[in-house]
């Protein structure tokens, strides 16, 4: 729903007819307009102000699709032609959404870059007409104004936005591997200055209304209203419209100027930007930064810089041309397809396909106030869940409470919360050492140590207290849920909820169901996860579920590569250059060497030879030396408070030397090392689908990218196979299989896909 886009082909038809015989057709149009009801857009006239209301049927959001665009063009042409109308207001009738962006399917249906370029050019033309309109147009923005929606808004003469949390403005195109293709790259720098425009377009970040006002992205703010004689949202939109109409009148009467008073800093920046040398320096700096961050894996940011540069240095016409061309090119890239796939997957994983649970969870209890327990508590209280955080010791509990408080307080520092809201949210948390209040809990999530007998003990203790309907969820990364549920009196109420650390930052939640878990229990867990703002995949129980199981063979390969003499730093840079957000060696440190060892042992037992590769001895020795990773201060690296550049732990040299194995020269090039890691991951993921652990490939992609840091530019293991070609993946695996054996044997499903090239995991 995000990308930029504009006006459909009908616009040209209408426009050309208008040119030929304006008077006649216009009169006809406006006469019929009162009667004619359109699907997406309608307008009424208030005095001499036309109020254009956007409201796509059967959808929570407005997206720029062909139909909406052609109706918009029709309506605008009527407005421009009418003698009675002197100005216009554009507003959405949907609370919480102005225009959320362009309809992505419009791009998906294009086969060539030229088709996409054409879509872009039509959009550019339409928005140019808006920009040059002699009748002032006011965009009244409430809710999401993203992508094409923002490009529409900045083509208007004036913008008024509600100062609501839901009102966000942004150009998220870059996150989909494309660029703002309807004039955004040209208008935005002019409106907010080059540095701010780069920031918006290269990060895709959402900008809140008050910030947008300061930047000059919107001209006026309207405060959201409370209850009056109508529901607050309804009245707020009405009020926004009233205010916008006043401004539209003021603009057409020339009582209000669209010129904005710039602050001193802004004036300074715009002065600096008028010096070519400064501009060149800025382009250079931004480009350097982008290259460093994207490692050249993402083409969109560089093209955005290029297009902006073209517009500024060579003028608008060149800028628009470059924008539309690059837009077409980008839309056809693998990266863009991968990112859009992720976007669709994410939307899918934000829905509860198990329906509404019979009883809504209002009281949550969490066992264990460790990093995970406290993290789960934080995302729960944040959304108004009454949460009990129970720990065995006062010190442990205190640490957990402090973690929650700090998490909330950091939001206050970023002005995402007020200190009062923080206090009121924090009051949802009850810290305690006993089981008081568990009789009211609707769900208990245990986050105690990864030890089966301990988990059994707390399960039995809790089951003696909780009400019948209460769900018992286990936050474990590898222990099979059915084993935990084995001691339960009510296994249908037991489920796995695998959170990722740090809980407040990682979006993924992996929910694990056993054979016995009831559908309502699953629905309940998904509902809680969605409330906590998570992207959710639901998988079947099994050793390592989905995420841990995919990671384990890759980790095993990491060990082997290290044993083969690749330096941890080198390995890290190989993996990050491939698109992993965290280097492989660093990842082991972050996860915790003891945890990694634990998992490797468990899964090694369960899956045998396939999970072999590196020697477990390496992890064992590290654990015995106390090198547990970041948490103990030493792992492959040395971690010190306040030291940014971490140093390699030289004590590891001895351990690595003692376990050294000779590298196989055929498969030890940098690229081979990268693919050895990746293909083992991908192969295991496909096997999970084959075995039914995963329900859909989309969930597999989302789980891998959002939980494990699988390179987003590849779109997840399944999208990767689709885009890269199953045959090529199988070939790679076969090559490594020849050297290392069974660990690289491609699974049947992958072979099937390789044998029938038209079969795709993702549609």
């Amino acid at each position: 729903m995000v990308a930029s886009r504009a006006i459909g082909s009908l616009s040209r038809a209408t426009a050309s007819r208008m040119l030929r015989c304006p008077g006649y057709i216009c009169r006809n149009f406006s006469a019929s307009s009162a009667l004619q009801t359109r699907t997406h857009i309608n307008y009424g006239v208030n005095g001499d102000v036309a109020v254009v209301r956007i409201n796509s049927p059967n959808s929570k959001v407005n997206t720029l699709n062909k139909e909406l665009q052609s109706e918009f063009v029709e309506v605008m042409n009527e407005i421009w032609a009418s003698d009675q109308i002197r100005s216009a207001v554009l507003i959405s009738s949907k609370p919480g959404c102005f225009i959320a962006g362009a309809d992505l399917s419009m791009l998906a249906s294009c086969k060539t870059p030229e088709e996409v370029t054409q879509i872009s050019q039509e959009g550019q033309r339409m928005f140019e007409k808006l920009e040059k309109s002699t009748k002032p147009i006011v965009a009244a923005i409430s809710g999401a104004c993203l992508g094409g929606g923002l490009e529409l808004a900045i083509s208007c003469q004036y913008r008024i936005a509600t100062k609501d949390r839901k009102t966000v403005l942004g150009t998220p195109e870059v996150l989909l591997g494309i660029l703002p293709g309807a004039g955004g790259t040209q208008r935005l720098p002019r409106m907010v200055g080059v540095p701010a425009a780069f920031d918006m377009m290269l990060t895709g970040r959402n900008i809140r209304a008050d910030r947008a006002k300061k930047m000059g992205l919107v001209d006026q703010l309207v405060e959201p209203l409370g209850p009056g004689l109508k529901p607050p949202e309804e009245r707020t939109i009405e009020y926004l419209e009233e205010v916008a109409v006043t401004f539209a009148k003021g603009l057409s009467d020339k009582k209000i100027s669209i010129k904005r008073d710039k602050g001193f800093v802004e004036k300074l920046i715009s002065y600096a930007m008028s010096i070519p040398f400064v501009r060149q320096q800025i382009y250079k700096k931004v480009e350097e930064k982008v290259r460093k961050q994207t490692k050249g894996l993402y083409p969109a940011p560089l093209k955005i810089i290029d297009v902006v540069k073209t517009g500024i240095e060579q003028g608008n016409d060149a800028g628009y041309l470059s924008e539309s061309k690059k837009f077409g090119e980008l839309a056809m890239t693998k990266e863009s397809k991968a990112l859009m796939g992720l976007y669709h997957g994410q939307v899918l994983c934000k829905k509860n396909k198990f329906g509404a649970p019979q009883k809504e969870v209002k009281h949550l209890a969490i066992l264990g106030a460790g990093l995970m327990g406290a993290g789960i508590a934080q995302v729960s209280v944040d959304k108004g869940l009454k949460t009990i955080l129970k720990d065995a010791t006062l010190a442990g509990l205190g640490r957990g409470q402090q973690q929650v408080f700090k998490g909330l307080n950091d939001k206050v520092k970023k002005k995402a919360l007020t200190s009062f809201e923080r206090d009121s949210i924090f009051s949802n948390l009850t810290g305690q050492l006993d089981y008081e209040g568990f009789e009211k809990a609707d769900m208990v999530i245990e986050a105690v140590f990864e030890d089966l007998s301990l988990k059994h003990r707390v399960l039995k203790e809790v089951e003696a207290l909780i009400p019948d309907h209460c769900v018992f969820a286990s936050n474990t990364s590898a222990l099979p849920i059915s084993e935990i549920a084995a001691v339960s009196k009510r296994p249908e109420k037991v489920i796995g909820m695998h959170y990722f650390s740090p809980v407040d930052k990682m979006q993924l939640l992996e929910i694990i169901t056993t054979e016995k878990t009831s559908k309502d229990t699953t629905a309940s867990a998904v509902a809680v996860g969605l409330k906590q703002g998570k992207v959710i995949i639901v998988v079947k129980d099994g050793p390592g579920f989905y995420t841990t199981r995919c990671l384990a063979p890759m980790m095993s390969e990491v060990l082997r590569i290290l044993q083969e003499g690749v330096e941890p730093k080198k390995l890290d840079s190989l993996t990050t250059n491939f698109g992993f957000p965290v280097g492989a060696a660093t990842l082991v440190d972050e996860v915790g060497v003891d945890v990694a060892k634990h998992v490797a042992e468990d899964l090694g037992k369960a899956f045998g030879e396939r999970f072999g590769g590196g020697s477990l001895e390496l992890l064992k020795q590290m654990v015995s030396r106390g090198f547990l990773g970041r948490k103990s201060g030493k792992g492959f690296y040395i971690y010190q408070e306040g030291v940014k550049n971490k140093n390699v732990n030289s004590d590891m040299d001895g351990i690595l030397a003692s376990l050294k194995v000779p590298p196989k020269s055929d498969v030890s090039s940098d690229e081979d090392i990268q693919y050895r890691l990746l293909t083992r991951f991908v192969n295991e993921a496909v096997l999970c689908l084959q075995e039914g652990i995963l329900a859909t490939p989309a969930e597999g992609d989302i789980g891998a990218v959002f939980g494990l840091g699988f390179p987003p530019c590849l779109g997840g293991p399944f999208r990767f196979v689709d885009l890269h070609g199953a045959q090529k993946v199988v070939d790679r695996l076969r090559k490594y299989e020849a050297v290392y054996g069974k660990q690289f044997t491609p699974c049947q499903l992958l072979i099937d896909h390789a044998n029938s090239p038209n079969r795709k995991f993702c549609q």
Binding site: E223, G226, G228, L229, F420
Partner: protein, 474 residues
């Protein structure tokens, strides 16, 4: 209501005298209407068995002045003292009969944080009469009165003085927290070295002062801003607000000119002339008012300086007694203080809707209906706030969706509403307004006839109050 007003005001020259004349028939009719209404009350009296009747013997206030005028060099307890002296003078109550003194105040002068005690001592009350200070934003004086009611009703005391004071001409402006911290640490530092090391941490920004916020602590929103949003939520227009403000000023002027504001006692300000009347009453014209720019939501809001209450200095005090005590002492009380309620709601979006919530509740508690009320005295924080409350009270939708009630309570008839002006025109010293409202209701019932008065007010923090005042039989 606005249409009536518009008609009256728009068709007459807008000098205050003319406006007053036009209003006269309005208030006459209210007297006529009030008289027969008194005979058809839901209840003959609100006296309850086994509960002591509590009466107001009398109440006074010093003139309410715009801040920065004649009281500007005084301290809050000076104003409170003047009100207390005035009360003594007016009632001739022997000082030693007073069991207890309670004052309300909002912005505290730190030197006299128990301003009730400091004022009582200075006003010549017995040093054996305990006193305490309460605070509850704009309903602080109401809280002082109801605290007194509680003390009497529970049989602890017989005679209580309740009042309130506010001096907005001077407010505590503090050093920044960093500066305060350094100064306090400096105090504790023993050696020169310690002192120097502390002083070396000084930064220029430590000197930036901390002003007392007029904003809600919980939401950081100023009250005027909230009022503007409230007015918008209820679609109250700028014109309606200006008209209401003009009504308030015109009625206040008329009441002042006719000498109806009998609760005002003159105050000889040291070094200055004697102040005899409120100085914030300024009937203007709609044209003049229309010229003002919005004060809070700029540039398109509707709340302006002219339709808001202004910063005010003032103090009030009243003598409350158990009825039998008052009669035994030979007093002729003015009114009974009957049922009261406090309410609170969302401090963000319903900050100023206290009267809407409190009115039906107190009526129910007392067993009365809107028709039983002869005199309404509501605190006017902003025109927009009053009109929004009217609309909320008149809305079934609001009653059902936000108040958990089946039906609306109805908005008060304008001819019985704040007939002698209100906070918009008379002024609003935060801590002192409550007593003014009660005395206005009591005095209006005596003057205009009628049995029951309803006092209601909103307050910062999203709180509200309402009380029934019953006229004491003549």
């Amino acid at each position: 209501m606005t249409s009536i007003l518009t008609y009256t005001f728009k068709n007459l020259p807008s000098t205050s005298k003319w406006a007053l004349q036009s209003l006269r028939p309005l208030s006459c009719s209210s007297q006529l209407r009030a008289a027969p209404a008194a005979q058809n009350k839901s209840k003959k009296t609100l006296a309850k068995p086994n509960i002591r009747n509590i009466v107001v013997v009398d109440g006074v206030r010093i003139p309410f002045l715009q801040s920065g005028t004649s009281y500007k060099d005084l301290m809050p307890h000076d104003l409170a003292r003047a009100a207390l002296s005035g009360l003594l003078h007016r009632t001739n109550v022997p000082k030693d009969v007073v069991d207890y003194i309670i004052f309300g105040t909002v912005i505290q002068e730190v030197k006299t944080s128990n301003v009730a005690r400091e004022a009582a001592l200075g006003a010549g009350f017995s040093d054996r009469t305990p006193a305490h200070t309460v605070t509850m934003a704009c309903i602080s004086a109401n809280q002082a009165m109801t605290t007194g009611i509680g003390l009497i009703a529970s049989g602890q005391y017989d005679v209580v003085v309740a009042g309130g004071v506010e001096l907005m001409s001077d407010v505590p402006i503090r050093h920044s927290r960093k500066m305060r911290k350094m100064m306090l640490e400096l105090n504790k530092a023993k050696t020169l070295g310690q002192r120097l090391s502390l002083i070396s941490k000084f930064r220029l920004n430590f000197l930036s002062p901390e002003l007392p916020a007029v904003a809600e602590f919980s939401t950081s929103e100023t009250m005027g801003h909230s009022a503007d949003r409230l007015a918008a939520a209820f679609a109250v227009s700028r014109l309606d607000q200006d008209e209401y403000a003009l009504r308030s000023h015109s009625l206040a002027k008329k009441a002042q000119d006719e000498g109806l504001l009998s609760d005002v006692v003159p105050f000889k300000v040291p070094g200055k002339d004697t102040v005899t009347k409120d100085n914030g009453i300024r009937p203007s014209s709609l044209e003049q008012m229309a010229k003002l720019r919005p004060a809070f939501i700029k540039p398109y809001g509707t709340v302006t300086a002219a339709n808001s209450s202004f910063l005010t200095d003032g103090a009030s005090a009243m003598l409350i007694m158990a009825e039998e005590k008052a009669l035994a002492m030979g007093f002729k009380p003015k009114a009974y203080l009957r049922d009261f309620v406090y309410v609170s709601q969302d401090p963000k979006d319903q900050l100023l809707l206290g009267p809407t919530y409190a009115t039906p509740k107190v009526l129910e508690k007392a067993g009365l209906t809107m028709n039983d009320i002869d005199a309404f005295e509501f605190h006017e924080a902003f025109s927009g706030q009053i009109l929004a409350n009217f609309k909320a009270m008149d809305s079934d939708w609001f009653a059902q969706n936000y108040m958990g009630r089946k039906t609306k309570v109805g908005s008060p008839p304008l001819e019985k509403f704040n007939n002698w002006g209100g906070s918009l025109s008379l002024g609003h010293p935060f801590g002192a307004t409550g007593c003014r409202l009660v005395m206005a209701a009591a005095n209006r019932l005596r003057k205009e006839g009628g049995q029951y008065g309803l006092v209601a007010a909103c307050a910062a923090g999203g709180q509200g109050h309402a009380m029934i005042v019953e006229a004491y039989p003549k």
